[in-house]
């Protein structure tokens, strides 16, 4: 089985700060990590590999330094790493990124064997769009399973995959045929710690570096800034909302009075809410659930 995992090197969002004066994002010295959702995808791929045999190829599109992320993925146990790097890719939005990755995955299929499952994280923590995975699936005409919490089984004979998908209000068990694309949620399993021999192999494995042309992209107009219709108009820090907590003295007051006081205070701040909730008269007449009085 050939499993391809798309990863992205992202700034560790927990360590990004906004400059207090200029309101710009301070990128200086912010460490990079592998997008956490992608690590969940990699772990799932490695597990499948152990269960069914095969190989895991990790691929990323990014600057040269993204090689660090690939090397790390190799130490976790991935067998092969492909870095898609070319100045033509600079400034890619999700459309251009999914185009380039889809081309690269097709090329990986040609070179190293057709993938059975392509994995991505459900989204990246820097862009948060969740569009690249589905974009790849569409372009490669793959079955698409998004927001997958767990891969339940793969039937190699009938070439079917069964997964648990997190959905609003519950879980769905979905089955489809291979090849498919899975976007993984994180939190199912932490990424493993690679064995010593994996780490040694990773240190010696050469990361495959492909330019746009190497990935079979003949028309760079679909890549990078030129292939990206998305325009970032403005980046800004939301103004911080400063609100003081108000304290209400409740000593020796009946609960009803405390509750009425609370509601009155809220409505004083948000008059529209009062109307929306259907309050017409004084508090406690309409719309308030019947609370257990004086208890």
């Amino acid at each position: 089985m050939h499993l391809v995992v798309c990863i992205k090197q992202v700034p560790d969002s927990a360590q990004i700060r906004v400059h207090p004066v200029t309101n710009t994002i301070m990128r200086q010295g912010v460490p990079t990590i592998i997008n956490p959702h992608d690590l969940a995808a990699l772990e799932e791929a490695l597990k499948l590999c152990e269960a069914y045999g095969g190989e895991v190829t990790v691929v990323t599109m990014g600057p040269k330094m993204a090689e660090d992320a690939l090397r790390k993925a190799l130490t976790f146990g991935a067998h092969r790493a492909v870095l898609l790097t070319d100045r033509h890719f600079a400034g890619s939005d999700t459309l251009a990124t999914s185009f380039a990755l889809a081309q690269a995955i097709a090329e990986i299929g040609e070179t190293f064997g057709t993938p059975d499952v392509v994995f991505t994280g459900k989204q990246t923590i820097d862009g948060d769009t969740a569009q690249v995975g589905p974009g790849i699936a569409k372009r490669l005409d793959l079955q698409q399973l998004t927001y997958v919490a767990k891969i339940l089984s793969i039937d190699a004979a009938s070439r079917e995959i069964t997964v648990e998908r997190r959905a609003e209000g519950g879980s769905q068990i979905l089955r489809t045929r291979l090849p498919c694309l899975v976007t993984m949620l994180d939190g199912a399993d932490a990424i493993r710690r690679g064995r010593l021999d994996d780490a040694l192999r990773a240190a010696r494995t050469k990361v495959v570096k492909w330019s746009a042309a190497d990935a079979g992209i003949a028309e760079p107009a679909n890549c990078g800034l030129r292939g990206s219709p998305t325009v970032v108009k403005r980046v800004f820090a939301p103004t911080s909302r400063e609100q003081k907590a108000r304290q209400i003295d409740t000593t020796n007051k009946p609960l009803r009075e405390v509750a009425d006081g609370l509601i009155a205070a809220i409505f004083a701040d948000q008059p529209a809410l009062k109307h929306d909730l259907g309050f017409l008269g004084s508090t406690g007449q309409q719309g308030v659930p019947d609370v257990d009085r004086e208890s």
Binding site: R193, R195, L196, D197, L200, A203
Partner: protein
Amino acid sequence: MTKEKFDAIVVGAGMSGNAAAYAMASRGLKVLQLERGEYPGSKNVQGAIMYANMLEAIIPDFRNDAPLERHLVEQRFWIMDDTSHTGMHYRSDDFNEVTPNRYTIIRAQFDKWLSRKVCEAGGTVLCETTATGLEWDSAGKAIGVRTDRAGDVVLADVVVLAEGVNGLLGTRAGLREVPKSKNVALAVKELHFLPEEVIASRFGLTGDEGCVIEAGGTISRGMAGLGFLYTNKESISLGIGCLISNFAETMERPYALLDAFKRHPSIQPLIAGSEVKEYAAHLIPEGGFNAIPRLCGNGWVVVGDAAQLNNAVHREGSNLAMASGRMAGEAISIIKSRGGVMDKASLSLYKTILDKSFVVEDLSKQKDMPSLLHTNSPNFFTTYPQLISHAAQNFVRVDGTPKIEREIATTAAFLRARSRWGLVSDAVRLASAWR
């Protein structure tokens, strides 16, 4: 699975480990280097000043691509009391030479760079991998290491212990003692970010010129210690360190010292408006010559901070680490080329080379200094700075008192504080420790 076998395993990717690994890998040895941090440099803390010639001995053309911050043109020594500093500044245009002598560096970046050189030379570097124990054969020779990753022991002809001041591998194996608290300083530092032009104007620097301040006095609250301020390109490294034994006796808190140092009226304006990005702490070996442990044995050598190779008086550490690592690497390469066995007798070649070098020469010259400063720390770090400050103020303040009265007052202050005998004895002991 077959066990991997290397010519040498280097434990640690700091200055000494990288120097050793590079020396061996570039001579064609099959080298494995283990580093517990996420990347080389991620766990390494230093001020940091890097001395060029020790690095030149390893990578002659390092100036082409090494991440260097500023070359130093000015050195300030400050003796501080609570409100003042008495300083000696040395600045020279001679330091604006083609191949400058000293640079400030940021270790996280520098070590990454040096490690890349190790990889390019053919070494295998594994990060996030902690060596947990040495493996011995029945004859008592180290034959490899165990790691915290699942899998087999990795074998090697020789293990280079470059594991730093607090190296657990060697102490656990009984190759050396855990460093004594009087032989180790704890330094804390912060990295303050400021725009390049602000740093340039505050210190009077052009281009890549840099300035360092090293300060002693009441900032260490009577303990044997030193404060420092180093200018990087867009940041200032600021820190203070004192002996662990002093911290234990006085119950002073390191971060409180640093906080007070930052708020000192002589320091505060230099870092005003900066943004603190990093807080780090590190142990520094201060025991000098007398604290150097056994340097080699059957199948192992120890280098750098792990071998306590640090010159407290001249504030040199990383250069001794680089030099000792290189010498160990060269010795091992020589033994290997002769087809020799890496036993205690052959590896003593490393000790021979080291003994003949400036490393041991310098350390032995000042072998009594650490204990002198330790036993006399309140005098050297509180009394004298206060007296010097007092004397300086007496000299410059003009308020109508006759000069002779002021001079008498200054002398009297010295005598009151230390007595004639105390002054003479401090001077003699300081001079003899220096020699």
